[in-house]
Symmetry: C2
Subunit: 370 residues, 2 copies
DNA sequence: ACCGTAATTGTTAGCGTTAACATAGTGAGT
DNA sequence: ACTCACTATGTTAACGCTAACAATTACGGT
């Protein structure tokens, strides 16, 4: 109705060809950019016969817009296939609506699953997810990742690491955005929000299962020394052993790999075997079982083995692996929830650690009576 | 040296407190934002005693800057801990320096590895990587992902899918950004750039190994019908069989899961067993072997099994799995190379498919003579 | 009819950067 | 010495959006 009047009133600001858009406005031009430039707010405004600010208001769900006007604007948006320009928005609001995720070695099942959980939760909340995967956890790569994200002006950061090394590095940055550190099982630093699966509980579940099966000599093959998760599992292992009145053995330090598990299994086979082994993760358990079997031992006949993670396929290992399942999806979801809360409250939310779950399969059995 | 004089010259535009930055400029304020706002180009310019445009030139490596001036600017940048604002940059250049990656079910080893390859290559090239993982490949979620990225104004898109379903959907979008589709083993559509591992070759390698070991009755357990990769492997299987003068068997259709492999193995065990099975991926091979073993057969004694992917741990399966390794890292790298080339040439680069590699372990052996 | 108040909508001014053009220096060629 | 071309730098104007404020309209109470 007032469309033509408005369009001639202002010669479309830009030096290019502002008219290219209004011609044939009625045609079905979904994704624009076919001819002429992408539509901007002003174009929508012109078609709807309102000011660009009203369009902005509609997009931002301002209550100060008459329903009738809103309809008109929405129709114009649909007609033009208009999409708001995030860069312009970010520039003026100082918020990129992007979360950065730093992972370390995300080829592994745990980190990659966590990442996917984070991603889906973030997207649901209307945030973009920017990724940086580092192969090593040295302070140089941590800094490089942080730089990457600061530059990108992310609104929050999720750090998926199990290592201590990377940890200290975050401390001194003095960033003014919320940071969630996944898998840090220690007291949180000044401005970090810890989110984690209750590793200690997971370990206790595993050990308890072994104890209840009648095992007394239970050895723990743990992850690398600098891993928080690994440490927490060690704590859980010791606690549960003691709770059962059993003497914890010195832990054997591994590095999460099947290779390492295999080596440990081989050297164990050479000397006296415990009656049960609690491996820090499934790959190590896999290697371990391989070595044990190779040496002529039967799992679980001679030795029971419990893993941790429940990687895909663990069900079809031989024997099917008894293990502790972590809900990574939920973990990722919590990360985003924490970030979101920190962003609106300016306060650090406190989240209950996620409960892992014991999955009993066939790599564990009561000890052989001898 | 000229700092204080310059700061009084211009009352710092912003309504906040622009002076907060120039006071104590000599102190080590790496990441700024402690007090006052983040420094912007104008702040750097003031400290360096140049115009903001010169700072921009230095940042963009313009040759039209005297080395001496460049030094001064660089020093000011370091002193202030200045970081360029990507949103502002994106707004004016119409380029976000971000690539979007759509994955479907990236909990799996292949997609997630590819993603990491893409990420590292992109970051190396100075691009940000935005992620969207979809659990299903229906056209609704494809559209949703695309929308997500269009809105974000990504400069290019990497689609990691093996499915046909998602494919048609990309066609009609008429996006004006380059799109790389990973794993599409068919003729590329209008504006897509295909990047892939040579699946057909991989399959031939696997089958050839079996043939050379003396097998004649080789069955192929393939991936889902709508997967390009699966199809290409079927083609390779048939081609190699025929090349060896052998009759290809009808393929058995699976769905990539261990579960499915197990089911197939069970029903195979009930009837006559072939002398060798070529599984479409490692998880299926794992389930298959489990079922076969459970039924009392020996692998590779009674049946040889070859997998595809070389997932971590395959080395410690029982028996260690003979499989075909794909270099996902390289695949990701090629995706970015393709995108980059398309972006500068405006032409569609043609890349040679990546050669997979046969890894011979112990799940294959010459057939039993009977 | 007149004013105040609330409900809508419009106008203006940046956000921080780059592109385009303008301007000042610097030698070289005549 | 004087212009020409070139080099190095500065100035101005967008990019597309939101925030803050200004303006208009409608409505109820006096």
């Amino acid at each position: 109705m007032t469309t033509s009047g408005a369009s001639s009133a202002k010669p479309a600001a830009a030096g290019t060809e502002g008219a290219a858009i209004s011609d044939g406005a009625a045609s079905d031009r979904r994704h624009a950019g076919q001819r002429g430039r992408k539509p901007r707010m002003a174009d929508v405004a012109r078609v709807a016969g309102v000011s660009h600010q009203t369009v902005s208001r509609v997009l931002n769900h301002s209550p100060a817009v008459r329903p009738e006007t809103r309809e008109r604007v929405l129709a114009a948006i649909a007609e033009l296939g208009y999409r708001r320009n995030v860069a312009a928005r970010a520039l003026v609001t100082q918020a990129s609506r992007t979360f950065g995720v730093v992972t370390f070695g995300a080829e592994l099942y745990g980190p990659s699953s966590t990442l996917m959980g984070v991603e889906s939760a973030a997207r649901e909340a209307g945030y973009y997810v920017s990724l940086a995967n580092m192969s090593t956890v040295d302070s140089k790569s941590v800094h490089s990742a942080i730089d990457h994200f600061i530059e990108q002006d992310v609104d929050g950061l999720v750090v998926v690491t199990t290592s201590i090394e990377g940890d200290d590095t975050f401390e001194s940055l003095g960033l003014d955005i919320p940071i969630v550190v996944v898998g840090a099982g220690r007291k949180p630093r000044a401005d970090e929000i810890p989110v984690a699966v209750d590793q200690e509980l997971g370990a206790r579940l595993a050990v308890r299962h072994l104890v209840e099966s009648g095992h007394e000599e239970i050895v723990h093959l743990t992850g690398p020394r600098d891993s928080f998760d690994a440490r927490a599992r060690v704590v859980g292992y010791r606690a549960e052993m003691e709770a059962a009145g059993l003497k914890p053995h010195p832990v054997i330090v591994g590095d999460w790999t099947s290779q390492q598990g295999y080596e440990v299994g081989k050297s164990m086979s050479a000397s006296a075997l415990p009656s049960a082994i609690f491996a820090g993760n499934d790959p190590m358990a896999l290697g371990l079982i391989y070595a044990l079997t190779e040496a002529g031992y039967d799992v679980p006949g001679d030795v029971s083995v419990v893993g941790f993670d429940d990687v895909p396929g663990a069900e079809y290992y031989r024997p099917p692996l008894t293990t502790v399942r972590q809900n990574f999806e939920e973990l990722g979801r919590q990360c985003i929830a924490a970030l979101l809360k920190a962003l609106e409250d300016k306060g650090k939310p406190h989240l209950a650690p996620i409960k892992p779950e014991l999955v009993i399969r066939q790599s564990t059995a009561p000890p052989r009576r001898d």
